[in-house]
Each structure stands twice: as structure tokens, then as C-alpha cells.
Subunit: 461 residues, 2 copies
């Protein structure tokens, strides 16, 4: 428990308004996009890096745990204060510090909302591709901590591919700069990429240097409607196999379609077995030609209908539908067990068949949707946690899903991270040596275990 | 010194033919593309990972240093046995283990020659972009160790951007697998990207999983001839500023042009102040249109001539010219001090002006060429190391070049790595905390300092 004196010292650092200990505040900053909750002992909102340095020094002195937090939209519990301690809310550090069109580099604070940054950049003809479904409210700092992906990862990669430099406060309270502001740089070990995806366990990110691209000349969005999920995933394999590289290639199964349609009422085909949402971008002429090739391929694979969005507005409606899947699912059952497996893309038909079989065998509602183009399937099991039998069946099912994923050459998490929800399964994928290496890195960066404890791996297994 | 018994044990592991201790062999494996030499005590050529494991165990038992080596084409001394020990030549482990067109992934051994892999992939319509100038002989293992770049990094990134998984032998002799075979993966700390660019100091890479792209539909190569270097670098800024993203945007200054022309005699304009070699690739129609836009931009910036290569053969000749610059320079003077700075691309005119001024002031032959599009300038000072005064002036000049580079927001090395040649300057760019973090990582991976000692940072500063 934090003493009154510690709270007073925290208040002195950030100002009384920005240090919260009321029960209602503690509840508000103890959740994320999982349905798990852990109350912190205090929440502080530093204004700048100097305040963070002071907080980390105090954390060492007392000591107490520090849990960095962006918008709390994480899918694996990475920002939850599972052992209490002080949540470090970074929402006030939300400035875009610079946008440099000549060098295609932006420098931002961690609290900048991803979608907001993308809009600002688009006005200058610039493009920051990573687009997690939560982009309207998630923050760059959280994206960096979890190495967020998104639909456009298929063509453009994930957060890691765009972070070229960082400023961060280490667990000791010291400020470190990593990486470069240039397109290339190989000076010593790549601390930048090590911090990206480290889920707040190695350092507190205070500034992010992002590589940018020029906006593509043109984009086109297609929706392909299939009677059967199988046909849709086979079409995905054909599209990629044809050497086309869409900027997004998303799929939704029937239940996902129905949930979204109930939620948004935008006219999605409730009777369809599956939808593909396909975006192509790039050079004008290529976009037109590739969209036509994709349309033909989909029809050849049994699509009953392929529509091309007539304009940006129609395309945006389809994107909204896709991004609404995750929240819409709660209609089905009060709780969601959300997995984020990725398999080599040619194995999507296999994993989808396996998911169906597992769902039937364990009598569970399993929905899937996600990034078909890069093999990243969001598997959602909708349950009622008050039903102990259902919970037990779910645990068995998850175990089998992970086993099947790894057997297909896949990974437990494509873009959500380990956080706390996947800790029990980490050893299925990472061998003992890998875990040891990670633990030694954690120890090297945070010997006293101040930063975001209880994440990624258990301290003592 | 290695004992006879140790040599016998090494011979037993790899076979007598593959363990060399003759003076002529030791000389052959004690050099790289710098003009520095350090003899190892033995050179071994393991056939497979089991033999590497056995060698590393022996290295721990005796103990002795191990220095992994690809083709010895490194530009910063990364593979030189500066403290003796055993060179681990990986040339026999040169198999392409699998190419998977459906998932666009290849798995290769470290000794595969980069250009050879690219040719094999091209036959299947696949593309591995990193293209260091030495691609005809350098190896993927060396590329991974140094995080090699190349001309196409401007559009496609560097080696790191394509390595998604690794198998490696740790300093303890244990075998670790990192990363994934899928397009995405965020399971724990990113050990893969940490090993890429670690210059053989953290582990011995035994298998590399590479992400691939489809081959672009079309490519076109242009050569723009300028009377003045200034005009050429201004044209670079205009091209990038116009939102065009060529697949390569290379420049050569007058002396580089003359050296290459003397060496290859292919009709380069000896009187030109500078050349730009520009490659555009992608969708057919876009390539034609962008090449035309670039031609117009170059003429507008004062190019006296812009030629478009009529066919692949002509394009290849221009590439050969570009790749021949580095070896061709030795015509000017027996020794080369080769730097590899990178600046934000808009600052290329500034750094080029500064280089001219420094060259005049210190009475040195300074040539520059390189990757103008991504700000990565290869600065070469041609000297005679027997001239003590020239050596002293060079040292001063290099110091000033680095100071100017950092002042412009640049980095000491875009793609060659630190190796040994840049150790004295590392502290100019990486602060104390960053160095400490790197040293702790080294300690975590290689507590006894068996692997590639004396590289990146001094053990004791």
C-alpha cells in the first residue's frame, strides 16, 4: 500500500489535479479491452518527461510498481496493474512534436492518438500505415508497447517497421535515446526494436520517431460475399498466390457479419457465410487493374457477389463495419475470450476448419475474423464467465487452438501481445532458452522489477 | 595460443580438411573489405549446426574466442579476429532450405550468397530486396550480422526488415530459435531483431527465416548527368519531395565516376560533376509515368542529360558501374578510409558541402557516392598509410566529418556497422546509458566474452 506521504510526493510532482486516488478513478484505470480488472493504488498523469523521471526516481526510493498506460485499449492486459502500484497515464503527453515532409519523419509524444496522427499526416500527403482497429482512440505509445498491427500490415508491416528512434525513461529514472532520425542506422545493438513490443516492461517511452511514407496515389475497396467460409479463405490464397499484394485483405465469418449488422445496420448480407474486405492501393492505373483482377479471382472461387466501393465514403463504411466487429460481439454473450493467432497464410483454411471442429466439440460459440491476408486470425470465444462448465470447456478449447496453431507453423499472438492473458501459454511457443534470454534482458533493464510487473512471463517460472 | 590438443579436437569435430592452421590459410581468413589484417589461430568450416554446437562447447571448455565469418566482405572489420582465436567460416552451410511462394517465406543457411538467393527467388516471381553492393559474393549470414542495406533500402528497407526468425547457437553452446514463420508475431521480446546487426557478438546464426515480396511487375533505370554535384543532390530532394519513391536513388561524384570509368570503360561521362542512377519499380503504368516525372524533375534541376536504360542489360551495366565504385577507388591511392554516414536526406547538400570544405582544408582526396535517396553517403578518403602526416590529417578529418554528421541529425553508420573501425567514435553518438544497456545485453548473452571479442564497444570503457 502506498503511504499518504508517497501520494503527497506524487501530487507534488504532477500537481494535485493529476494525481488520483478516488475509488472511481482507480476503477476507471484498472481495465482494458479484455474484461479483466485490477485496481491500481494511484493514477498519475505526468505533463512531461521531467515529471516521469521524478516519478520513476520516487518509485525506486519507496519502492512501488509503475504501470505505463496509453488509452487502455489493449487486448491482452498489458496495461493492467495486476499487482497494484501506480498507473502512469500518458494521455497528457499527446503532442505531435514535428512532421518533416522532406525527410518523411514524424516525432510524437506517446499519448498521441494513432488515427489523429494519421489524419494530420494525410493533410501533408504523408502516410503512417499501422492501423489497429482501435485507431480512433488508441495511442502511439500503446501501439509501440504492444507492437500493434492492423489490416494494412499485410502490405505495410506493423508498428515496429516504422519506429526508428525512441526516447525512454529507464527503470533507474535515467533518460535514454535510441535509434536514429535517418532512414538507415546500424550503430550498436538495436535497442529501439527491443523496446517496441516489450509491453512497458523495459522502459517508459516518452518520445517516438516514426518513419513515414508518401500517401498512395489511389485506393480502392472491394467487398466479396461468399456462401461458405472455405471459399473465402481459398480466395485469399489465390489472391496472394497471384502476386497481388492488397493493402488489406480482411475476413469476417457469418456470426461476425450478423453481429456487426445488428450493431450498425448498414446492410451487410446476414445470410452470407463469409465476407472478404479487400483494399488495394498505390499507383492509379495499378489500383484499377488489380481491383479487377481480384474481382475476377473472387468470382472464380465462388463469390456470389463482389462490390467495389463507389467512393471514399462507401469504403469508410466498410472499414467501420470491420472495425466494429470486436465491440459488436458482446451482443452474443457477456464475456469474450479473445485470441490472436497467426498462421502461415496458406494454412488459414486448415486453422479455420480446426476452429469449427473445436467449437462443435466443446459446444462453444467461436467466431473468427481478422487479417486473412497475413494469416492473423482473431478467434473469439463468447462465454458467460458465471458458467463454470463453459469456462472449463473454453480453457480446453484454447489449449487445443494454440496446439493446432503451433503445429501449423503459427504463433500465439500476431499483434495483441502476451500481456497477462497469454502468459500460461508462452512456454508452448518460446523454448526455455528463449525465455531465459528474455528474462536476462528484463533483469538487465529493470533489475528491481519496478516496471509493469507480472507481464509477458511469470517472474519465477 | 591454441594447444595442439585443442586443434586436434577441432579437427575431430569438423574433419581434418575443414580445420586449417597453415600460415597461408590464417592470412586468408584474417582480412575483410577494410585494409586491416589480424591472423586467427585456426579456421574451421563446420558442416552443420551440430558441429557448431560442439565447437562452441569446446570454446567454453578451453577457452578460446570464436569469430563467425561469412564472405569477409564487411566494411568495418566485424569479422576480423582482432584478438586471435578461431574463425568460424560458415561457407559450407550454404543451402537454401526452403522457398515457400504461397507464404512468401524462405529459410536459408547463413552461408548462402545473397545474389544467388535473389536469382533463385526471381525464378519463382519472388523478391528479397536487400542488395548490398557486394551481393555477388557476400552472404546472408554476414548481411544479418551487420544488418546490411543497399541501394533499394530507400523503398524497401534493410536486412532487418526481412528477417522474421532465426536459429542461433548461443555462447553457451545451446541452440535457440527466435521469431516466427508468419507475417506477424509479438510473443515476448524481439530477440530476432536484437540479433540482427549484433555483428556476431551475441550468437552464431545458423538459420535465417526471411520474409519475401512478389517481384515488381516492372523496373526502369535512369541515369541523370549533372555538371555540378550540388545540382544532383538538389534533384534528389525534389524527387523525394514530389512523393515519388524510387526503388533506388544513387549518386556518384566526379572522382567516383572517373575511377569507375577507368576500371570498367563503359562510357560514363568523365567530365560530369555528378551522376544520379535512379531505378523505379512497381506497377507497369506507374513505372513509365514516374520515370518520365523524374526525368523532367532532373532536367529542371540542371541535368545536362537524362538517359533511360533501353533494356535490362543496359540497366545491369549501370548497376555494375555503381557496384564497382568501392573496388575501383584503390586506383587513386593504396589505402581507403571508408565511412558510411547517414543524414536526413534533405541535409545531403549540407553534408556534401561540408565534405568538400574538409577535404580542401586537410588536403585529402575525399570521394563520395552512395544512397542519396536515403541520406546514406559513403565517404572515402584515399590515403597512403605510410605517410604519417596524411594519416594524422585523415584522423582529424574523420572526426570533423562525424561531428558534422551528428550535428545534422545523422548517424555514424547507415549500413556498415561499427565493427572495429568505428569503435573510437561510438561514444559521439550513443550516450553512456545506451552503451551501458548494450553492454548489459552483451553480458546477458555472452557472460564469458567468447563471441567475437573487441567489436562494437571496448570491453572496458
Amino acid at each position: 500500500m502506498l503511504s499518504r506521504d508517497t501520494i503527497r510526493q506524487l501530487s507534488r510532482i504532477v500537481g494535485r489535479r493529476h494525481c488520483r486516488t478516488d475509488p472511481e478513478d482507480l476503477i476507471c484505470y484498472g481495465y482494458d479491452a479484455t474484461d479483466l480488472r485490477y485496481n491500481p493504488e494511484a493514477v498519475v498523469f505526468p505533463a512531461d518527461v521531467q515529471e516521469i523521471v521524478a516519478i520513476v526516481r520516487l518509485a525506486n526510493e519507496i519502492p512501488f510498481y509503475l504501470i505505463p498506460r496509453g488509452a487502455g485499449s489493449g487486448m491482452s492486459g498489458g496495461s493492467l496493474p495486476v499487482r497494484g502500484g501506480v498507473v502512469l497515464g500518458l494521455s497528457r503527453m499527446n503532442r505531435i512534436l514535428s512532421i518533416d515532409p522532406e525527410n518523411m519523419v514524424a516525432v510524437v509524444e506517446p499519448g498521441v492518438v494513432t488515427g489523429h496522427l494519421q489524419e494530420e499526416l494525410a493533410e501533408q500527403g504523408l502516410f503512417y500505415p499501422p492501423d489497429p482497429a482501435s485507431l480512433a482512440f488508441c495511442t502511439i505509445g500503446g501501439n509501440v508497447a504492444e507492437c500493434a498491427g492492423g489490416a494494412r500490415a499485410l502490405k505495410y508491416g506493423v508498428t515496429k517497421d516504422y519506429v526508428i528512434g525512441l526516447e525512454a525513461v529507464l527503470a533507474s529514472g535515467e533518460l535514454v535515446k535510441t535509434g536514429v532520425q535517418t532512414a538507415k542506422g546500424v550503430v550498436g545493438y538495436d535497442l529501439t526494436k527491443l523496446l517496441v513490443g516489450s509491453e512497458g516492461t523495459l522502459a517508459i517511452i516518452t518520445k517516438v520517431v516514426l518513419k513515414l511514407l508518401p500517401q498512395p496515389e489511389s485506393r480502392r475497396m472491394l467487398m466479396a460475399v461468399f456462401n461458405r467460409l472455405n471459399e473465402a479463405v481459398e480466395a485469399v490464397t489465390k489472391i496472394i498466390g497471384a502476386g497481388l499484394l492488397p493493402s488489406a485483405l480482411e475476413f469476417m465469418d457469418q456470426r461476425s457479419i450478423q453481429c456487426v449488422e445488428d450493431y450498425l445496420q448498414i446492410g451487410l448480407p446476414r445470410d452470407a457465410g463469409a465476407l472478404l474486405l479487400i483494399e488495394v492501393d498505390g499507383v492509379r492505373e495499378g489500383v484499377v487493374r488489380h481491383a479487377e483482377e481480384i474481382r475476377t479471382l473472387c468470382l472464380g472461387q465462388g463469390a456470389r457477389q463482389v462490390e467495389v466501393a463507389a467512393n471514399e465514403e462507401e469504403a469508410e463504411t466498410l472499414w467501420q463495419a470491420r472495425r466494429a466487429v470486436s465491440p459488436a460481439l458482446f451482443k452474443l454473450n457477456p464475456h469474450k475470450v479473445s485470441e490472436d493467432i497467426a498462421v502461415p497464410r496458406s494454412r488459414i483454411p486448415d486453422i479455420v476448419a480446426k476452429l469449427e471442429e473445436i467449437g462443435q466439440r466443446f459446444r462453444l460459440i467461436i467466431l473468427c475474423f481478422g487479417h486473412a491476408g497475413d494469416g492473423n486470425v482473431h478467434v473469439n470465444i463468447m462465454i458467460d464467465r458465471n458458467d463454470a462448465d463453459e469456462v472449463a470447456r473454453t480453457e480446453q478449447a484454447v489449449n487445443e487452438i494454440f496446439q493446432a496453431t503451433l503445429a501449423l507453423g503459427g504463433t500465439l499472438s500476431g499483434e495483441h501481445g502476451i500481456g497477462i492473458t497469454k502468459i500460461p501459454y508462452l512456454g508452448m511457443e518460446i523454448d526455455k532458452l528463449g525465455l531465459e534470454a528474455m528474462r536476462r534482458i528484463k533483469k538487465a533493464f529493470d533489475p528491481r522489477g519496478i516496471l509493469n510487473p507480472g507481464k509477458i512471463f511469470l517472474d519465477s517460472d
